[in-house]
């Protein structure tokens, strides 16, 4: 029986706490008597017979006819799936998308369906490489569909492959992939690694164009998504749900298949398993492993460290697979997500501390540049709450990450210019949106790189910045421990050499003897703050 998450009050006997620090780690002593640590629950038990569960849900979907009865000869079937940004880190083969897609295709083959297209729903993310596609859908599906162009990346800038479906009462335009819009059935295969994913957002964002996405990826929406991990309190999701209704009314029939994974990120055995144990439970072997790992990593170059960490494949267990109509399926999925991630926490804190790991949704097989550090800390980790933010309004966020002034030139070309040009001018999301967004979004060179290379869309760094808009408005100050000083300053944050320095600096904002809460993430944990 896996143990649930817990909130540990730090006292003088509490061992130093593990902080992720990019491709390395730090052990930090938090002030006794006024600090607490939110630990994630242990990985939930996985489904033993995943193929059986997939087959069962396809035959007994929620609020929908069984999938075989929706398939017929001569139909146009489109299967869309979540892109390389999920799950994090990548899943040990076979990926759950492969298992679901193969099951769907097997039913389609039995029904005599000929016209099938498989699309990576990557919105404005970079195109997936062949290796990444093979990892997600498996070699069998890739070899059968990719060579003749029936398995491909969605292109949000291809005017010939986009269909305008209408507008919501709020004036939000909906433009999605034409093949999906004109199909007889769109099967969406999703992975809900956190509660933000899935639901109408899968189609309304994953298969949409900039024209559509800009209506909810903006500072106003993000500031009013409190948090975007709680769909009922998230303006981002409200907008996607409105769009989903328009898509449905336009006649697009979606059969949603959502799956959830447990938090077995680093495995229960092996050298990385120490990273998902509670510090006071580290055995002699765990401590030796940790020390050897830290010493080894220190002696490696940044590239070697990156290669090692990016090659890690998590042995996740699948905790649910649910198919059918989007809304009931997503509600069921959220129950499974929250069962794994939520930890009840009482009251807010003055200072929230975070150890940022080596990966976020936008640097898979890539470099975590300073903008992504901001997005991961102030966007994702800050928003890992339901109810109220873990840190009080005007409080301080302390993050630990090396924050290198380094960018992947192929994946993140517009990030480089954003960092050099936009952030040098202002860090205010609203001002940034008004002044710069359109120029970057419509830049022909960025558009060309997005469509033909493996670059994120020109507007993507703006979205990363907006992702942190709620946190920027809420927090009194942000401090990064152990970061590249000029890069941290460019982000508008304060650099600190050590955690003790950062805690001392934070008293300038929140006063003496502040309360401290550390979110022990990863593995993923979400605070249910009352």
């Amino acid at each position: 029986m896996p143990r649930p998450g817990l909130v540990l009050d730090v006292d003088s006997s509490t061992p130093p706490i593990l902080f992720h620090h990019g491709e390395s780690f730090r052990l930090e002593k938090l002030p006794a008597g006024r600090s607490r640590v939110v630990y994630p629950g242990e990985p939930l038990d996985a489904i033993r017979d995943v193929e059986g569960a997939i087959g069962d849900t396809l035959l007994h979907p929620l609020d929908s006819d069984p999938l075989p009865s929706l398939l017929f000869p001569g139909m146009r079937l489109v299967i869309a799936f979540d892109d390389v940004s999920l799950p994090l880190p990548k899943m040990k083969r076979p990926d759950i998308r492969q298992r679901v897609i193969e099951a769907v295709l097997d039913l389609a083959a039995a029904a005599g369906v000929d016209d099938v297209r498989i699309i990576a729903a990557l919105a404005l993310h970079r195109r997936m490489t062949e290796d990444e596609l093979r990892h997600a859908v498996g070699d069998r599906v890739y070899d059968a569909f990719a060579p003749d162009g029936r398995l491909y990346n969605h292109d949000a800038e291809d005017p010939d492959d986009l269909a305008f479906l209408g507008t919501t009462p709020q004036g939000e335009e909906i433009e999605i992939n034409k093949a999906a819009a004109e199909s007889d059935l769109l099967v969406y295969v999703n992975i809900n690694i956190v509660s933000m994913d899935g639901g109408h957002k899968s189609t309304a964002t994953g298969l949409a164009s900039y024209r559509s996405i800009r209506h909810h990826h903006n500072p106003a929406t993000m500031e009013h998504s409190r948090s975007f991990m709680d769909r009922h309190s998230s303006e981002l999701h409200h907008s996607n749900w409105r769009m989903g209704k328009v898509i449905r009314d336009a006649g697009v029939k979606v059969f949603q298949i959502e799956s959830t994974l447990n938090t077995n990120v680093f495995g229960e055995t092996g050298p990385l398993s120490v990273l998902q144990k509670r510090e006071w439970e580290w055995s002699g072997r765990d401590r030796a492993t940790y020390m050897a790992m830290s010493a080894g990593l220190k002696r490696m170059s940044a590239n070697s460290r990156r290669r090692i960490f990016q090659s890690h494949e998590a042995p996740y267990g699948v905790t649910s697979v649910t198919a059918g109509a989007i809304e009931p399926v997503h509600e069921r999925t959220l129950e499974h997500c929250f069962a794994q991630h939520l930890v009840p926490v009482e009251g807010q804190t003055d200072i929230l501390t975070l150890g940022l790991p080596y990966i976020c949704p936008y640097n898979v097989n890539s470099i975590m540049n300073p903008i992504l550090v901001m997005c991961l800390g102030l966007g994702y980790f800050f928003n890992m709450y339901r109810g109220r933010p873990l840190v009080r309004e005007g409080g301080v966020l302390i993050m630990s990450h090396p924050t290198p002034w380094e960018f992947h030139p192929v994946h993140h070309p517009s990030y480089i210019d954003f960092f050099e040009e936009v952030l040098a001018d202002t860090t205010d999301p609203k001002l940034i949106a008004e002044t710069y967004e359109k120029r970057y979004a419509e830049d022909e060179w960025y558009r060309h790189l997005y469509r033909t290379s493996h670059a994120y869309h020109g507007v993507h760094p703006f979205y990363m910045w907006y992702w942190g808009a709620h946190a920027l408005a809420h927090l009194g100050s942000v401090i990064i421990v152990g970061g590249n000083v000029p890069a941290v300053r460019r982000l508008g944050f304060r650099p600190a050499s050590t955690m003790q320095d950062a805690l001392e600096m934070a008293t300038d904002t929140v006063g003496p003897q502040p309360t401290v809460t550390h979110l022990h993430n990863p593995p993923i944990v979400m605070a249910d703050v009352t």
């Binding site: 193929e51 083969r93 295709l105 083959a109 099938v116 498996g138 070899d143 059968a144 569909f145």
Partner: protein
Amino acid sequence: MESHVNGERAGPTRAEVALRTAVRLQRRLPTARRVSGAMQFPLRAPTVPGGVEPTPKETRLGGAYDTEWARSPAARLGRLALLEGAVRPLVWAIADPDRRGYDRLVGLNGPAIFAANHLSHIDAGLLLTSLPEPWRHRAFAGAAADYFFDSRVKATLAALALNAIPIERTKVTRRSAALAAELIDDGWSMVIFPEGGRSPDRWGQAFRAGAAFLAVRTGVPVVPVHLEGTGRILPKGTSKLVPGRTRVTFGTPLQPGPDEDMRDLSVRIEAAVTALADEVAGDWWTARRRAHAGLSPPLSGPDAGAWRRAWALGDRRSHRRTRREPWPLRD
């Protein structure tokens, strides 16, 4: 007696004398045959009285060969060394295998029956070295009793290297099946070639029901496996080894139904291997569509005359090393 020629001493040297003495002594020593011949019953075996039908000598070869020793810890250790130290490098050198479909075995726990098509003598070694853990070092093979166990040397080698047990092809016996079932119940996985022997013309043969019988009897799943390319390397009727490339494709495990008839399961196994062959020849999606429509190209090839069957093999029929022109004829 010494003789003198021209005043010098003549005759055998001392060494020659010593040698002759040694030969004489050796001839006087009793030979093993002489000793055994001199022994009387009960020191030697009894002779059969005339007019009495001698009891048939119990053979310890063929289907009666006892392979129990091959599963002792020492033999297992030896097999591990042999499989990893000799068979694997040999298979790699001559068969260059491309192994696929391991992802289909995720979720498979406990023993299983790996059933593959059979084209060549290297199939067993190729398949055993292709099995993933935890099955690889806890597997046994079903081998033809009349071929692999007809001499003590071959039987010992087959039992040691492949952990083979004899399977009777020419007569009906329960001994093989009972032993196989017992081993499966003990947690061993089985490698079996349901065709019963290597293909004579590089097309498949009808599957026999042995694998299905064992699966139904023991309740363990059958993993269909397709071997491609081994027919070019060491096919039936030749002893010349021609290195080539091979592909091993594992299929989705087939669990016998609670009341499933072994004949139905055997049909399912053959259909699964046939679909895998189609998948290897083309792509997975086309193969699935054909499989559902019952249109997978049969493993047994076209129903036609011998030359047309050979013709239809295409590149697969070639068992020749590509001749390399000597310099300066080549670039």
